[in-house]
Symmetry: D2
Subunit: 338 residues, 4 copies
């Protein structure tokens, strides 16, 4: 950490800051420059809470050098974490696809999709029983009966189940029915939910918030890790920009960046990240080429009849094409796609 003093800071002000640093159990190293003094601070193992120093007279800025997350950082855990979900892995040389409809709507809809997803050689199935919707008048999900339908999919097709928990009341039930608990972008900083997810014994798929920085994203993961759950899979799903009305920008460069900073696996969601069918195939290939550990993809047997997010789903035939393309691409980037 460095404390940057303003150009007109007095000797007394500098001394007062050094005293406060000592009081915090740290060591101050003042360096007198041409126009101002800066104070190096040592003795902290991780980032310390020091924003209150900003309030001291003569202080212009506090610059953190250490990262504020510990358990999520690669420094603390140099080897990449590999998460094993019933034999399917995230974080190693495999590229693991999770596919299924946005929402569980009916047994027929679910079984039609599950049958095709399984036939395509994919091992993980997604579908929301609880849906966070922008409008209170939109379809809110089937709830528990939706979870039961997902259990039928597991039993019938041997697919592992990924489904979303939207609140602390229902997360335990969601954990019971799922192989991976998904936490959505709007809940990335729902800290009570993160803490409870950290006490579940199931892997958690954590989506990046729509305006979250990388540091905030890793701190959200840290909430889960620090409660004892080491199985966190990160997911880039697009961030809000001025680029175009209502379109997210899938930030694929975050994938190599996260790989540097953290040991956790990261997958991409080109369905939410791009919003329209025609962009999903190219962006799925791009995700694999950028180094993602997998994909979360929305499929529907009849997107025009979907109760939520139809325009960003691809059909089951398009999904077959997508998987064929990814399997062609995998070896060229050293990945086994399934």
């Amino acid at each position: 950490m460095f404390i940057v003093m303003s150009p007109g800071a007095t000797r007394e002000q500098i001394a007062a800051v050094c005293d406060e640093i000592s009081r915090m159990g740290l060591k101050a190293h003042p360096i007198n420059g041409t126009t101002r003094t800066a104070i190096g601070v040592t003795g902290n193992k991780t980032q310390v809470a020091a924003d209150h120093l900003l309030v001291l007279s003569g202080v212009e800025d506090v610059v953190h050098v250490s990262s504020p997350y510990r358990l999520a950082s690669r420094e603390s855990h140099p080897d990449s974490t590999v998460i094993n979900v019933g034999g399917v892995k995230f974080g190693g040389s495999e590229f693991s696809v999770i596919a299924g409809p946005c929402a569980v709507e009916s047994r027929e809809q679910l079984m039609t999709a599950a049958n095709r997803v399984a036939r395509a050689g994919v091992k993980l199935f997604r579908g929301g029983a609880y849906k966070p919707r922008t409008s209170p008048y939109s379809f809110q999900g089937l709830g528990k009966p939706g979870l039961e339908l997902l259990a039928e999919v597991r039993a019938k097709y041997g697919l592992r189940i990924v489904t979303e928990a939207i609140d602390t009341e229902t997360i335990e039930m969601v954990a019971e029915y799922s192989d991976i608990i998904q936490l959505g972008a709007r809940n990335m900083q729902n800290f009570s939910l993160l803490k409870k997810a950290g006490r579940m014994r199931k892997p958690v798929l954590l989506k990046r918030g729509m305006a979250a920085t990388v540091e905030e994203f890793l701190l959200a993961a840290e909430y889960i890790l620090s409660e004892g759950n080491e199985q966190v899979i990160l997911c880039e799903r697009g961030i809000r920009t001025m680029a175009e009305p209502a379109r997210n920008v899938l930030d694929l460069a975050v994938i190599p960046q996260i790989k540097l900073l953290s040991h956790l696996p990261i997958i991409a969601d080109p369905s939410h990240g791009t919003g329209r069918q025609a962009r999903i195939l190219p962006m799925s290939r791009a995700s694999l080429a950028a180094g993602a550990d997998g994909l979360l993809i929305e499929v529907h047997h009849a997107p025009e009849a979907a109760l939520s997010d139809g325009p960003q789903a691809i059909t089951l035939d398009e999904f077959d094409t997508l998987m064929a393309e990814l399997r062609k691409l995998g070896p060229a980037v050293g990945r086994i796609v399934h």
Copy 2:
């Protein structure tokens, strides 16, 4: 609603879209332009879910004309809503200031601040007992003992209490101890929490999410209103932009815009919206001049010792100056400041 067909759309595709519109109980009005056909749709009283039309062959875009919120819209409720909190009003000619520390830290800290806030003629006091923090290692609030200290403030100084609820488990207790329940920016789309807030019998102060559009903001209010709670006070607190590392931009133009679209009162939070003391006084004055119905402001007797958000708090002396400035400005814009 309008359906915009792509330039190469066939007669059959256009007919299929018209059929689907009829099936939805609405009426289609095709208009054949020079390069393409568009289809006007009538019969809907409010915005209908129609994104699935985007998936039909030949459809390029679906343009909504009606707003998706009903109860929050000024169309449904032409007169401005005035919310009365024990005699203090939001939404009329008053400009009502809410002041207090970011977090409840101790009895001494709270009473020192409350004493000065009350002496300054302000009627509403804020302080967080439950704190949503970016890092799991930051101070998370005192919890219930914090609420009890706030109750002491009410008893001793006659101040109405504004405090934040962060989850569905504790909102009932928060409602019991507070005069206004605050919901934070990170929870603006925590729909389970919004629904539960809609079942409380206390006014709700709803902060805009850091990347929320105006439509999403009003739909979040709609969640509360549609559960039966008509007392929603909106709060602009700054949005994320590229403007500068880690600085929010207080979007004051949203205030006249919300006044056009909705009947709900709206206040501004220049503390979170600007992040540093030197910007708080000018932006408080600007909020009043822009037409806000009040202010949420963080004060602390010793910002350098604050357990959270010190740099954005002003001292109790600065707060006296701020109130004096606002009182000088009020009459020039037709507002009674208190």
Copy 3:
């Protein structure tokens, strides 16, 4: 400046960085922390180009402490600059309004507006003869005949003229006809134009780019100042955000921030900054209350017939109301409005 080494940096890597710092004529102060080493650098009077250090092995980050602009900084020039345009001042206790149509369209349009602007007691008149337009098919301005009409306005009504220069070919002619040369947001980083503006002997009104940081904004001013033109008036005109399709957010908090960092005057443009009439009056008042030194405002005798930007112009009657409101507000914030 500080060099932050990565946690695994070797002694040799640290030594190599210190050597490079010496080679640059600066002094290195290594500080060994618990998990990593940081190197304080002194000897630089202003920010030095040091990004190449990022490429050295073991370097994780380079943190600048000094600001990269010199002439624009308040450190170099503690007193606020007051720019005098034929008796009208920017940067002191006056609040100076510049009003007029977006584009010069015809003598009648111009004289109608100028007559009313002058009658309202305003001293500065704006109007574009050269128009930067998003589409090549939009009205591009009258060019030189437009400048001649503006000269007529000056002669007839005694108004000082503010008009935009869009390229290096025509800036000299624009300078000849105007009292203030305006440079638009899209040209904020047109460095050839900035340099040439720096060689003109007229004040320059420099608008902030739509995605410009404060540092970039002040560096653009620095281009003008460093060529010898000390008369730069900054103008906040709204930045691009995700807030809503096609709407800019007027970033008023930049006003107190610029006042801290720089001695240059700064005005606001609520017409471009908000885009629609209903937001212009409240945001004009807010600009004054936030500490702006003036306003740039678009007026038109018949906005519905304007050849450019009609929706963001106010009528001449609305302008009278606006000036009355500002004059009522001025004394409450210690400003003389004219």
Copy 4:
């Protein structure tokens, strides 16, 4: 085009809008909905200037259906444009890499890089003789001597030259020395420069502005096309977001989107788009996988000694690795890489 009337619009107001539409030579089709009237407009071949309608009483919004660009649109030109630069193609099945240093610094630097770029089988060489720099104190390029060094590279290594024009004064000379004229992101809306580039007889590489929408990007291309130059290559180089201090987000999803809307080729610039070496290889692969027609990549024999943008350059050895990776990937996505 549609005109959306406000809910309370009167019959007279609706009639006045229809009259104005007729006056514009277009046909109005009013549709009376439950809560409001909308007016379909036909007769326009491309988007018409109609924002002035927003000013008429009772009008709430004007919704454009036609795109405002003509020559750049795929509607007007269904086949993809293939641009042939001395035998190297953009827009067909080839993936054409452009590599070289950010700035031309010296003969030795340039020849070292050119030798390796040519040996790697790449046909196009980049290097800036005129550099747009954020600070006036940064290296501004060698100017004409830099262009002469580029001509030597062409003569010696048979590489086609890509170099930037930054103003209307020097673009002719730049055109003389180059095979492709590059226009930078900061100049995307420097309309005088775009017009002049449209009168050159060389292909133009147009970079997307840092906050530009797709529509603005294509309208900038339209400026060049409408002056008679049909050879425009678009380039995505990252947009400004809140994602992280000072980092651009490479918006790869814009590639399939541009392919739908326009016939022009589009390449990606992962050097500027990502800013740091470790992200360049993954994002180069991702660009190819997303459907880009080529790449613009910065290489330097000694990035730590580069006079500009060192941190985003890769070494010549890293470039060999990059090309090998791309060549491995090409066949898997149906592209010939060179």
